[in-house]
Amino acid sequence: MEHRLNARNRTITTIVFIAVATILVVPSVQAQTAAVQTEARCTIAKTNLAERLAVIEKTRSAHASVHSDIQAKVDSLITSATTKEYNQISALTTAQASVQKNIDTYSAKVVAYTNTLKTASTIDCSKALATLDPAIKAARTSLTETNTAAATVRKSITEQTIPAIKAYAAWLATQNTTPTTGTTE
């Protein structure tokens, strides 16, 4: 009986030992692997953020060119409408001012977004690893705001500028059919 009990105790002791060893060793190993993966992920993220920054700079430049061209066209139409004494010229000027304001907002948002991308893409992954996630969060927030500002510009042009221009064209049509230069409503 005593011999059986000794053997049983040995087995239990062994199992307990293995269990304790597992509980103590595995977490430390897991912690080490987690640290290595984070630094590697940081390096990958920095590379992608730098690429994103270059793409955003190009997009920003292209959008600025289109916005400038549209505003120049509206300026020309306002000039001709003034010469023609267009009675609803305020619609054109209001639309132009609104679009310009939205363009300015969009430009500011893009600048802020590019700054967040620069900040996130220049983090030292070996020393300031903890700052990566907050930087990425700030960039994502700025990206959402930029996207909203770009949509606002598009919306203002589509819903204000173009209708105002078409209204001016319609007024011109009425002026051609009725030679009198009255300011008909």
Partner: protein
């Protein structure tokens, strides 16, 4: 045929005749230079215009004796010694040679008269220059006159009011209904061409950042 090497020796009649004939021919070939003689007599006709002095000096009778000396200027070194022994034979050619030999004394004044004709020719360029200036003046005046007439046609002023049509035609297309509608459609196309996909949230997703 052979010229005498020593002038003290007598010359054969044939050689002597040949030599005299050559000298006579040389004298005739140089004669046609009557111009230098002109200055002496033309001093008085100088006030006359260009054409007369050139024509009159040639027929002057006096120059003939003076003309003959000119060729002798070049022949002087050879002629002086030979003619004296040659004149003795009393040939007509020897007389001519003797006359030629006297020439060198009167040759010097001819060279001094050569500048005079050049002075007379100086009036022609003056007339040519005046004619060119006149033609150029007419051309410039005609050009500016034509410009003035053109400006009168394009901007007629009636009773102090400019009745010319202002250049508003180039601006008319922009003011037409069609052009304005075209501008609106252009702007619409530009807005639709704006690519905003780079501002999508997916661009900064974990999948996009950590791949």
């Amino acid at each position: 045929m052979n010229p005498p090497n020593n002038y003290n020796q007598p010359i054969s009649p044939e050689d002597d005749a040949m030599l005299q004939a050559i000298e006579a021919l040389e004298a005739q070939t140089v004669d046609p230079d009557p111009k230098p003689l002109v200055p002496e007599t033309p001093v008085t006709p100088a006030p006359e215009p260009i054409p007369t002095p050139v024509i009159t000096p040639a027929p002057v009778p006096t120059p003939l004796p003076v003309i003959e000396p000119t060729p002798i200027i070049t022949e002087a070194p050879t002629a002086p010694t030979t003619p004296e022994p040659a004149t003795k034979p009393t040939d007509p050619s020897s007389a001519i040679a003797a006359a030629l030999a006297r020439g060198p004394e009167t040759t010097t004044p001819k060279s001094t008269y050569q500048p005079f004709p050049k002075k007379k020719l100086g009036k022609k360029p003056l007339l040519i220059i005046l004619a060119i200036i006149l033609v150029a003046g007419l051309g410039v005046g005609g050009y500016f006159g034509w410009q003035y007439l053109q400006s009168q046609k394009t901007s007629p002023i009636v009773n102090g009011i400019d009745t010319s049509v202002p250049d508003e035609d180039p601006g008319l297309p922009e003011d037409s209904e069609a052009s304005v509608n075209s501008t609106a459609s252009d702007i619409e196309n530009q807005v639709n061409s704006i690519d905003e996909t780079e501002y999508k949230d997916e661009t900064l997703s974990d999948a996009a950042l950590y791949e």
